[in-house]
């Protein structure tokens, strides 16, 4: 069963072709990787998939629904959550509030309920809060609930960002370079964390990652893009030996 299907996806930035005729599909409960040299267009693909850009050509179909014309907040309500390359937590809000705000798509009350504190409003707020605290507990970061993310170590901020993305109960989790800027011990921890999330939550994960250790140990399938074009796709060992990939990363040996 395909979860996400990308057909002939092309994105032009006033003449610059960031993504070109990309075809890719992602099944349910799959963990796949997206790699490529710097500037290959990986993050652009994620920005397209999360609705941040509207594709120039082609379509993105998520659970049988075309994402064309949807705003990012609508896409996230459908069940695509993501993290960012450079952590984008709301730094002046507590960790708990960060999780709460990500529930915006399922608040279930209106402004009238809010101002008059109707039973429904109070119940929804209590439920949302309860769920958020539960999630923090599962990830053993409930002791930081009232802490500002800016005061936490970098690795912990990464974790909070992943928890925030998970809190909306997504079907697809996009991780944009989760290991960027982490120390090697933290990277090992991150690998365990992602594997654990993948096993526990019923979802697919698609990640961009430069550190081969992460991609090779987690992903069942890897897609490689260069200059916005898909150049190879297959299992980690196939990718490692693919001449196309080696050429993209290391260059041609013929001058």
């Amino acid at each position: 069963m395909t979860l996400l299907e990308i057909k002939d996806l092309t994105q032009l930035f006033s003449g610059l072709c960031a993504v070109s005729e990309l075809n890719l599909s992602l099944g349910e409960s799959e963990l796949i990787g997206l790699i490529g040299p710097n500037g290959a267009g990986k993050t652009t693909v994620f920005n397209l998939a999360s609705g941040f850009y509207q594709p120039t050509h082609g379509e993105i179909i998520f659970q049988g629904r075309n994402l064309a014309g949807l705003k990012p907040h609508q896409v996230s309500a459908l069940g695509i959550a993501r993290t960012f390359q450079n952590i984008r937590l709301w730094k002046e809000m507590s960790v708990l509030d960060n999780i709460l705000v990500a529930q915006h798509f399922q608040l279930g009350y209106g402004l009238g309920g809010l101002f008059f504190r109707t039973p429904r409003y109070l119940k929804r707020e209590r439920d949302i809060r309860h769920k958020a605290l539960e999630l923090l507990e599962i990830f053993k970061i409930d002791k930081f609930a009232d802490e500002k993310p800016g005061n936490l170590p970098y690795g912990m901020q990464r974790k909070v960002e992943i928890v925030r993305a998970l809190s909306s109960g997504p079907k697809l989790l996009l991780l944009d370079e989760p290991a960027a800027g982490l120390q090697s011990t933290d990277v090992t921890e991150l690998i365990t964390l992602i594997q654990w999330v993948y096993d526990q939550f019923n979802l697919s994960i698609w990640m961009i990652e430069h550190q081969m250790k992460v991609v090779m140990s987690l992903c069942s399938r890897i897609a490689v893009i260069d200059f916005g074009r898909l150049i190879a796709s297959g299992t980690p060992s196939e990718i490692q030996n693919s001449p196309e990939v080696i050429k993209a990363y290391l260059g041609d040996d013929q001058l």
């Binding site: 999360s50 990012p72 996230s76 009350y109 809010l114």
Partner: protein
């Protein structure tokens, strides 16, 4: 006990003020200053919602105050008093005491609608551009009022004192103190409830990282419109109260200078802090009165004050914190949500 301490305090404060006014312990001048404090609290807390919490830069708050002031004044004068502009009262003047809050709310709704009209095109921009657009909106509103002759044009509009007299026929109590107090409390409660809800926390998220907010399922466009409408609507209520306190409105009194006053209060109090805005409104109103002998030089002193604040304490008196964050022990005595 904790739950009731704030309501009890407010009731005591209101009855004291009304008693003092009733027994003429405080004269009309001091009463007016107290009323201005209440009105300025509504002005500053409502502007704080947009400039402090949402991080946009709205410079045209006085425009919305003007809309509220004019709409509610025209309505109350037409409905409850005999006037040259509108003839005999449309409703029996005895109803003034009950009709007045409704008139104020209609003024607020009109201002909120104006806010929506301003926000719809201008929230495509940010920062400096939004500031310029809101200044322009402020002047468009004033020019519109100046060019409508039925409501006095540049000469201003009066007759609101007669509405107060009509209310006093009903019961001889200091009505304005009552209404300003009630609407001030309601405004602060509205803002507090809005900002403490998960919905309202989306506003903070927009200020800190709008892209992340949109991607984490916050409908940023809508929430920005709603917030701006709440802010301008409350400004409209403040305008209605102002018009009926002074008894006379003039388009000139809602120009950029008035908007600047609101901005000074927000920055003095501290961005995003409700208690800061309240303290700043009280301090600022007092300061305006103390500096009154300086006349126009007052407007050298106040901007100078703003510069000094920005230099030495850019976060304002409270700086994104509430009173209960600075004195955690206060939490034992009250609960205000």
């Amino acid at each position: 006990m904790k739950r009731f301490s704030v309501p009890i305090l407010l009731v005591v404060l209101l009855t004291t003020l009304m008693g003092l006014a009733w027994f003429e312990v405080i004269d009309l001048y001091i009463q007016t200053i107290v009323l201005f404090m209440g009105i300025n609290i509504i002005t500053s807390t409502s502007l704080n919602l947009v400039n402090g919490n949402m991080g946009e830069f709205s410079c045209g708050h006085a425009g919305f105050i003007a809309v509220g002031a004019y709409v509610s004044s025209i309505l109350s004068v037409a409905l409850f008093t005999k006037s040259r502009a509108f003839g005999a009262p449309l409703l029996p003047p005895e109803l003034a005491a009950y009709g007045f809050p409704l008139v104020l709310i209609i003024g607020g709704l009109a201002a909120a609608l104006t806010g929506l009209l301003v926000a719809l095109p201008s929230f495509r921009t940010r920062d400096d551009y939004l500031a310029i657009i809101t200044i322009a909106a402020n002047y468009i509103i004033i020019s519109t009022i100046i060019n409508i002759d039925t409501i006095g044009g540049a000469r201003g509009f009066m007759g609101m004192k007669r509405v107060i007299f009509a209310m006093e026929k009903c019961a001889e109590i200091p009505w304005m103190i009552l209404w300003v107090f009630i609407f001030m409390v309601i405004s602060v409660i509205i803002i507090r409830r809005y900002m403490s809800s998960t919905y309202g926390k989306g506003v903070e998220a927009i200020r800190q990282d709008e892209v992340a907010a949109e991607i984490m399922s916050v409908n940023t466009n809508r929430i920005k419109l709603v917030t701006f409408m709440i802010s301008s609507g409350l400004a409209g209520v403040a305008g209605g109260l102002y018009a009926h306190t002074v008894g006379y409105v003039n388009p000139k009194s809602f120009d950029l200078l008035k908007s600047t006053e609101a901005l000074v209060m927000v920055y003095l109090g501290g961005m995003g802090s409700i208690s800061g805005s309240i303290i700043a409104a009280v301090v600022f109103t007092l300061m305006l009165e103390l500096l009154r002998p300086l006349q126009i030089i007052k407007w050298v002193a106040i901007p100078l004050l703003l510069i000094i604040i920005m230099q030495f304490r850019p976060e304002g008196i409270m700086g994104h914190r509430e009173l209960s964050d600075i004195f955690p022990r206060l939490k034992k005595f009250y609960k205000f949500k």
